[in-house]
């Protein structure tokens, strides 16, 4: 009976072989899933690809450019041809992801299907579409580029996302281990043990589904060694093991990112570990060999063949040729025979034997050797050497150097003290040597992490073993399997002048695909070196960039945790159908249905608005007046207790920063209010001055914004309403006049601050009540004012009323360059003060003139409201200003605006042209006053 027949007979799936000692499948637990809609069977422990391979599938995707069929190359996470779509998840690593019951797996990147592939016509055109061909064509006519572009987009590799996928469940965790060990092979396990023995708390992170690294698919002695190491790790109380997890990067300050995928109910979790020391133990990655046909399904790495055989009991083929340059290659040949796969020939590269090309239609059928002989086979295994994945070391500042003898890049000597390396990345040796090196490195890591004197630890030497330098055969083949870049592409790009690694990589896109250079970089460098006649060492390597493995956006984002700020009155607003508006972190009522009616309520009766987001800063100390005098452009040294004053703040560049009122509450005690959006900035601004420039001033500042709920009670009947709820303050106009502040009890709540000011232009009181009583006071006020027709109003009504009054809003009616003069507050600026923030620039602004002015504009057609940001233009369409605020005024029955205009337009009665967004022009006149409603302010002072 032929090998093939023997393999196929009497087994549930074609290529599954009898039990292997280290297999990770559970034959008692069959799992069913679908592949391109067809039902497939597997065992628990199978990866998608091992299950499919067991069933006899060989082709899992099509290549990016030429749409060549692709099969298994590495049988690891990084397998370039084995990305598949699982449900709505694109680009799933099929050689890593375990099969689960009912999983819907489809091939991606095949148009229209895996078998029939129209785009493979590209293959015939291959010679014309070498690397960089886009740059040289589609140049003219330019208008056709979008059409070409659409065609190119069709060939974009990768799976599909769908607009209705749910966000999914992701999480984050912070960890503070002493030592993080990246890589759970023998050296990594030993390092974790060494560190734990020395007293460190260790996190051991392994990319695969269980610990062990290459021991898992090794010989029986290796399996025994692994069992022992596992026992020790389990027994240690100080090692936290994360499998199916990857250290994705090391950032400044040894901030280690770990992607954890092995949790129930959480798709992925991002662990952020502030490691005292990190030990890199990522092992080695086997590299592909470059020759014609090296991407045919059936051509794979020796590690891939061994993994398939020994982990999943899958025969990688039936008749094999093994190209071996090392012991692992020899062991693979032995494993294959042992498993019943016929090894037709072992090609020993150490004796100069070569594989020249592989042939086959759709998959491998024949290999041509260096001596011209041809061997028919369906499996070609290559074992030509290793790559050290040095990402973690590179991002810590180390530069890999090329070791000619070992034919691979090895770590340089640029590592900081908190990063160590062990295992294959450092050197080669039998398991015992790796374990010994790992254990010592782990101990050294613990010594450093626990800040002990680590001199007692001697780390035995571990150096890379000599290895023949095998990169490319006589023929050209694929170097970058994800990007479909051949060595021929690289050679011609280098000859064209893209002859440094960095340029070559960018021009050809080699190493830029999903495997991020792990498989491709060294061959790229070797081909470039050959093409330019330089050595590999001279050619150098590219920079490895994080993350080590792709990380989902979901894991990076974690749970959705966007903070929101609500005032204590929010339940009332919600119950009364307030339309919410987002104002920075705050969400507040824009209106309760009809802003114009809300305006009338205030103008005719009395209205309440929730102004809790207003910034409130409590200032105490003898030097507060000095501080205020410095921060504001006006004078503050004399402000009686019980009075409030309006102030304008400018930055040191004279640009308007914020405004608000500050009240003198008592001896050495003030309360400052700021704009809602400026609250944090002003608090910072004050701290900055106090701490860096005036450290001897005695001032304490406490942000109180959310400690108080703030309510403005506005309207002609507000005094009446207030008198019903305030018992301990004399509210008569003589006793509590405009621009005064009192402390007292409102609705039996003591400790409230009330001041008589108003943005709306009406008689009004601004109340700051302890936040916990906010809702109670709000409801009580409304109840008390029922017979006064008291109502509520939102932000929109307030904006209308302040515009009727011509009050500016900083950053709406001013912009990033608007300085203090010109915004209607010139009289406030006191240049005779010795010093204040922005004084110098304001002085110079005044000298220079020519600045814009804030004016009120009345459109000639009173029914036209020019949208905010409409531009004011001259006859020749040059811009001379813009409308900063505009509304239809319910009180005046006409449109009103504020505008920033060039100085020559800032004259009462001047007629200007406003260019509306719809393209039409309207005329408007500059009004005498900024305030259109009650310009004398009588209502306010009532």
């Amino acid at each position: 009976m032929s090998t093939a027949k023997r393999l196929l007979s009497g087994r549930p799936t074609k290529m599954r072989i009898t039990s292997r000692p280290g297999e990770v499948i559970d034959r008692s637990k069959p799992v069913r899933f679908t592949w391109n809609g067809r039902e497939k069977s597997a065992f628990e422990g199978d990866t998608i690809i091992s299950a499919l391979a067991a069933s006899g599938e060989r082709v899992f995707s099509r290549s990016f450019k030429y749409h060549r069929p692709r099969g298994i190359l590495t049988a690891t996470f990084h397998d370039p041809g084995c990305s598949v779509q699982v449900g709505d998840e694109p680009n799933v690593r099929g050689s890593h992801r375990l099969v689960t019951a009912g999983m819907k797996v489809t091939a991606q990147n095949v148009w229209p299907s895996l078998k029939l592939d129209v785009a493979s016509a590209n293959r015939a055109a291959g010679r014309f579409i070498g690397a960089g061909f886009y740059y040289k064509t589609f140049i003219k006519p330019e208008r056709l580029w979008p059409t070409y572009e659409k065609v190119l987009q069709r060939f974009a590799p990768g799976g599909r996302v769908s607009a209705d996928s749910p966000h999914g469940s992701y999480d984050k965790r912070y960890a503070h281990p002493d030592v993080v060990v990246a890589g759970g092979g023998p050296a990594g396990m030993a390092a974790a043990l060494g560190a734990a023995e020395a007293g460190a708390r260790v996190m051991l992170v392994e990319e695969e589904h269980s610990l062990g690294g290459h021991l898992r698919y090794g010989s029986e002695t290796e399996l025994a060694a692994l069992a022992e190491l596992r026992r020790e790790v389990e027994a240690s109380g100080a090692i936290e093991v994360l499998v199916n997890s990857a250290v994705t990067g090391r950032y400044d300050g040894n901030w280690i990112a770990i992607l954890q995928r092995n949790l129930p109910h959480v798709t992925e979790r991002l662990v952020k570990a502030r490691a005292k020391v990190v030990v890199a133990a990522p092992g080695l990655i086997e590299r592909p060999y470059v020759f014609e046909g090296n991407d045919l399904p059936g051509v794979m790495l020796s590690t891939a063949a061994r993994r398939l055989l020994n982990l999943w009991a899958v025969a990688p083929g039936t008749r094999a040729v093994v190209l071996s340059a090392n012991e692992e290659g020899d062991a693979t040949a032995a494993d294959l025979s042992d498993a019943g796969v016929h090894v037709a020939q072992v090609v020993d590269a150490r004796r100069g034997e070569q594989v020249v090309r592989a042939r086959g239609a759709g998959s491998l059928s024949e290999v041509e050797l260096g001596d011209g002989s041809k061997v028919s086979c369906d499996l070609l295994v290559t074992a030509v050497g290793w790559t050290a994945p040095t990402l973690l070391l590179n991002v810590a500042g180390d530069r890999p150097v090329y070791d000619e003898r070992a034919a691979r890049f090895v770590p340089g000597d640029g590592l900081p003290a908190n990063v160590l390396a062990t295992g294959g990345i450092v050197g080669d040796g039998p398991t015992a040597a790796l374990v010994e090196h790992g254990r010592a490195t782990g101990r050294a890591a613990a010594e450093r992490a626990l800040a002990r004197d680590g001199t007692s630890v001697t780390i035995p030497s571990l150096s890379p073993a000599p290895h023949p330098a095998l990169y490319r055969s006589r023929t050209h083949g694929i170097v970058d399997f994800s990007e479909d870049i051949s060595s021929k592409d690289l050679v011609s790009a280098a000859r064209e002048g893209y002859d440094s690694v960095e340029l070559l990589k960018r021009y050809t896109t080699a190493t830029m695909g999903p495997a991020q250079g792990k498989l491709e970089t060294i061959n790229t460098v070797a081909v470039l070196a050959e093409a330019t006649g330089r050595s590999i060492a001279e050619t150098g390597t590219t920079v490895w960039r994080p993350p080590h493995v792709p990380v989902s956006l979901g894991a990076l984002a974690g749970r959705v945790l966007e903070p929101v700020r609500y005032s204590p009155m929010q339940p009332w607003h919600e119950a009364h159908r307030a339309t919410p508006i987002v104002a920075g972190q705050w969400i507040r009522p824009e209106h309760y249905g009809d802003p114009a009616r809300e305006v009338r309520t205030v103008r005719e009766h009395v209205g309440l608005i929730d102004v809790t987001p207003l910034g409130k800063l409590d200032l105490r100390g003898p030097d507060v007046p000095k501080l205020l005098n410095f921060l504001y452009v006006n004078k503050w040294l004399k402000l009686d207790i019980g009075s409030v004053r309006y102030g304008l703040m400018c930055g040191e560049d004279g640009v308007v920063l914020d405004d608000g009122v500050t009240g003198h509450l008592g001896e050495d005690h003030y309360l400052m209010s700021t704009t809602s959006s400026g609250a944090d900035a002003v608090a910072h601004w004050i701290e900055n001055w106090l701490q860096t420039t005036f450290p001897d001033w005695q001032v304490y500042m406490t942000p109180m914004t959310t400690a108080y709920a703030s309510i403005n009670v506005a309207g002609p009947k507000s005094r009446e309403l207030m008198s019903r709820v305030v018992s301990d303050v004399d509210l008569s106009p003589e006793a509590f006049a405009y621009m005064q502040v009192r402390r007292g009890t409102i609705c039996s709540v003591p400790g409230c601050v009330m001041w008589r000011i108003g943005f709306t232009g009406e008689l009004s009181y601004e109340l700051h009540v302890p936040a916990g009583y906010g809702l109670y006071v709000w409801e009580s006020l409304l109840a008390a004012g029922e017979d006064l027709s008291a109502g509520v109003f939102g932000l929109e009504a307030q904006r209308i009323m302040r515009l009727e009054k011509g009050h500016l809003i900083v950053s709406q009616d001013t912009d990033g360059l608007t300085q203090g003069y010109g915004v209607g507050l010139d009289g406030l600026i006191k240049l005779d003060k010795e010093d204040f923030a922005g004084k110098q620039e304001l002085e110079w602004q005044l000298e220079r003139q020519g600045y814009n002015h804030l004016v009120a504009l009345l459109p000639d057609d009173a029914s036209v409201v020019p949208p905010e940001a409409s531009q004011i233009v001259t006859g020749d369409r040059s811009i001379v200003g813009r409308v900063t605020s505009s509304r239809l005024s319910p009180s005046l029955g006409r449109s009103i605006c504020l505008a920033l205009v060039a100085p020559q337009l800032a004259e009462t009665g001047k007629s200007v042209t406003v260019h509306l967004p719809d393209g039409t022009d309207v005329r408007a006149k500059v009004s005498e006053e900024l305030a259109q409603f009650d310009p004398g302010g009588e209502r306010l002072r009532a």
């Binding site: 300050g253 910072h684 900055n688 701490q691 450290p695 010795e834 010093d835 620039e841 110079w844």
Partner: protein, 93 residues
Amino acid sequence: MILIPCPHCGDRNSSEFTYAGEVHSRPSPGDARQGPWRDYLYGKDNPAGWTEERWFHGSGCGKYLRAERHTVTNEIRATRPEVGAGASSRTRP
């Protein structure tokens, strides 16, 4: 994420701090000429190497502090309080 040794709080993630940049002293009021004043507003040393700068520990002690940081490696070799400079400075071992 760099770790900043706050002289008041100890080692903390840089995300707790606000960067306040190079330290430039304010020309004394009164005799400020435009050149020096504008240099105070806009001029920068922007060195590639060690520099002294301010950070504000907003999500911690609320204090400004001075740090000596290397702008290429981001290593911080010393910090001290902004106020009463010189007292209780923290230097990394």
